[in-house]
Symmetry: C2
Subunit: 318 residues, 2 copies
Amino acid sequence: MNFVAALNDVAAKNLRVLEEHIRKAIVKDSFIFEACEPLFKGGKRLRPMLFLLCANSKTDCPPEKTMPLATALELIHTASLVHDDIIDTSKKRRGVETANSKYGAQIAVLVGDYLFAKAFQLVAENNYGAQVQLILSKLVKNLCVGEIMQDRSLFEVPTLTEYYTRINLKTAIFLSSCCRLGAIVSKMDNHEVENLTAYGSGLGLAFQIIDDLLDFFGDEKITGKPRGGDLKSGVITLPVIRALEISDEASTLRKIATSGADVEAAIKIIQATDAVDYCRTRAEAHIESARVNLPFTLKTSVALALEQIADFIVDRTR
Amino acid sequence: MNFVAALNDVAAKNLRVLEEHIRKAIVKDSFIFEACEPLFKGGKRLRPMLFLLCANSKTDCPPEKTMPLATALELIHTASLVHDDIIDTSKKRRGVETANSKYGAQIAVLVGDYLFAKAFQLVAENNYGAQVQLILSKLVKNLCVGEIMQDRSLFEVPTLTEYYTRINLKTAIFLSSCCRLGAIVSKMDNHEVENLTAYGSGLGLAFQIIDDLLDFFGDEKITGKPRGGDLKSGVITLPVIRALEISDEASTLRKIATSGADVEAAIKIIQATDAVDYCRTRAEAHIESARVNLPFTLKTSVALALEQIADFIVDRTR
């Protein structure tokens, strides 16, 4: 299922305006544009879309109040992808050649830094205030801590708590911050701010669990990545953690997980357990928690779009 | 001459308080501290010191109003060094092993990102306002554009204008922003803000020209770097630009500069011209311009420290 197809008219209209703003944010310098423009192709725009929907969920918030921050969120997300691709020495992202592969690590580091800085510039220029700046800077810091945590414990089996801490830092805080910012910018009351934050958090946890599942069992033609890539590179995720708990072949699986060798055998061992169902159930529980946190006070059209995003996240195939 | 020894009591007292604040900013996470602490050893603290002196140049500005931003400036500088060291694949910086060499490029990218984010967090938490945020984000963006410009034109001879654009983006804007921020935070009048900004800009241009000179003619034992490192890696600086203009052996020098081979021969060609004197004269002119821009209204002790910094910059040997 395509993300954009899953969106209703409200969301789709926002998306078109957002694309113009992203383009405007990177046109200044000709090389920056040349290097950055391909990076913005093919993204789902999930983060700015969550922000925009939440910002417009009670009354219409004027685009000049929302679009700069929506753009900043996508710039931050893209910057983190550019830096991740250096880390993973990935060749392709969103279907196009990565900055790292095209221009080398040197330029890729700087292009990522540029996008981070440009995001903070957009926010300062549009006077969003210290609270918004603080949420954004903490979000970036948490992304880094989550990634560092992951890189520092490659080929080590995390506890369930460690796994959740990591996906919270890497993904859930980002998604919940987008929703929280939307609620703050549109001046919703505290209760609504907290509820939309909780919606985003549930969404984020489910999103990452499904991501980790797709890494093993997704259709390579759709995901564009070889199966078991995470395990091979030492990132041990929920399907493995679950299978290690209950499989008769746990010791073999542990050897594979802590060495990265023979990923296909690991996939068979995981498939012989209830790990896939277990992960789906966990993801669905987080989506359910997201759903029940949606305030009753939202406009129907927006509530519907936020529900559609929740559906999309568990049903997606890439 | 040692930078700290060049400072008077006012500056030295600030420096001690600053060190505590830097330490506090990175202690949160044990790995971050382990990775970051060595990075902060041995730095000159030139940027936060300029900020602190300017902030205290008319009346005493309370430390709680200045130290978070001073710390943020040093975090940003250090983050940019960490990312530069990935770019240059340097093994040592400030006399200690680089993050890149110790933990690999992966972690070094993230540690730099963490420091950038932490800097913006400090500024948001302490309510410096949109104007300060904007100066900081533009400063980081300009650093990136300057570095990208440099990386994209390695082994190409820049025009004088291109050289000045690059050192302005890479160094002068940072130093002038530090002074400007000091003047803004201490609520100086517009005239003083502009003058201190101009002081910082002159300082920055001189600083980079001397840096470029030291790269060729500094004492390796003091600079800790082999002579001609810039030329070897394709970065063509003012001594070369000047020598190309007037040397009889310009065509040989051009071949060396555009290939990076035989740096020792290039040094001899440059030395046979007036390039060293020319660069010194340019640097001194920028320092002089910095000096004349110092407002008369400053406290004597601070004016003296700012003059000492100007002296230090042309006299330094590393």
